[in-house]
């Protein structure tokens, strides 16, 4: 059910690594009581042709841009699936365990 992708310029195949997941440990001490840090992962890499993990909108957008519309926002490598993170959060009454949804990236795609 995916559209076929075409390209305008076959010479533009030189590119960085393809869009994918990379570990990223961030400090949480400014936002939360615990934990002090967590691996939330991040998405990095190219979304140029051929799109290996794009949906139909990204394929159509890439085709439009490769036809000469370079000013349009091009597909971006972003998380498309997440996991929750268990933390110790806080309110006026003290600290409490809380589940933060969509906090850890689990899968990347071109969107």
């Amino acid at each position: 059910r995916k559209l076929r992708a075409t390209r305008a310029d076959p010479s533009s195949s030189v590119r960085g690594s393809v869009c994918g997941l990379r570990a990223l440990t961030v400090s949480l001490t400014k936002l939360l009581v615990g934990p002090s840090s967590a691996n939330i992962n991040n998405c990095h890499g190219s979304c140029a042709f051929p799109l290996t993990n794009g949906n139909n909108h990204a394929i159509l957008l890439n085709s439009h841009i490769e036809s000469g519309n370079a000013d349009e926002r091009s597909p971006c490598c972003v998380p498309v699936a997440y996991e929750a993170l268990e933390v110790v959060d806080w309110n006026a009454d003290g600290t409490f365990i809380s589940i933060k949804p969509d906090a850890v990236a689990r899968e990347c795609g071109c969107r």
Binding site: V33, E86, W90, T95, I97
Partner: protein, 104 residues
């Protein structure tokens, strides 16, 4: 690996509000509780989470660790959080989370 005794931590959760108490009861899943002591099931870390009221830390949670995952120190060294409104500490010896220690 020789048979090892499981980590024992002080256990306490406040009943400041129903919401916070209901959430913090999840700490009972980290090990069996008898009185004010918890025997940890899956961790060697004890933790303490404190609110600072009028300059004095008041324990909200004392328990076996669920979320910190690492505890290099033997004593429970205070770390301030959220503009000094809260304290966190974690440690790796039996009942080490009963007292906060300060400084380096």
């Amino acid at each position: 690996k020789p048979l090892q005794q499981k980590r024992r931590c002080f256990f306490q959760i406040t009943e400041s509000t129903k919401h916070n108490y209901r959430q913090n009861k999840k700490y009972t899943a980290a090990g069996s509780v008898s009185g004010s002591v918890q025997v940890c099931e899956t961790t060697d870390c004890c933790v303490g989470y404190y609110r600072i009221i009028n300059g004095t830390p008041k324990a909200d949670i004392l328990a076996c660790d669920r979320i910190e995952k690492s505890c290099p120190d033997e004593t429970c060294k205070a770390q301030t959080r959220i503009n000094n409104q809260f304290l966190t500490c974690m440690c790796n010896t039996d009942l080490c989370n009963g007292n906060i220690t300060w400084g380096k």
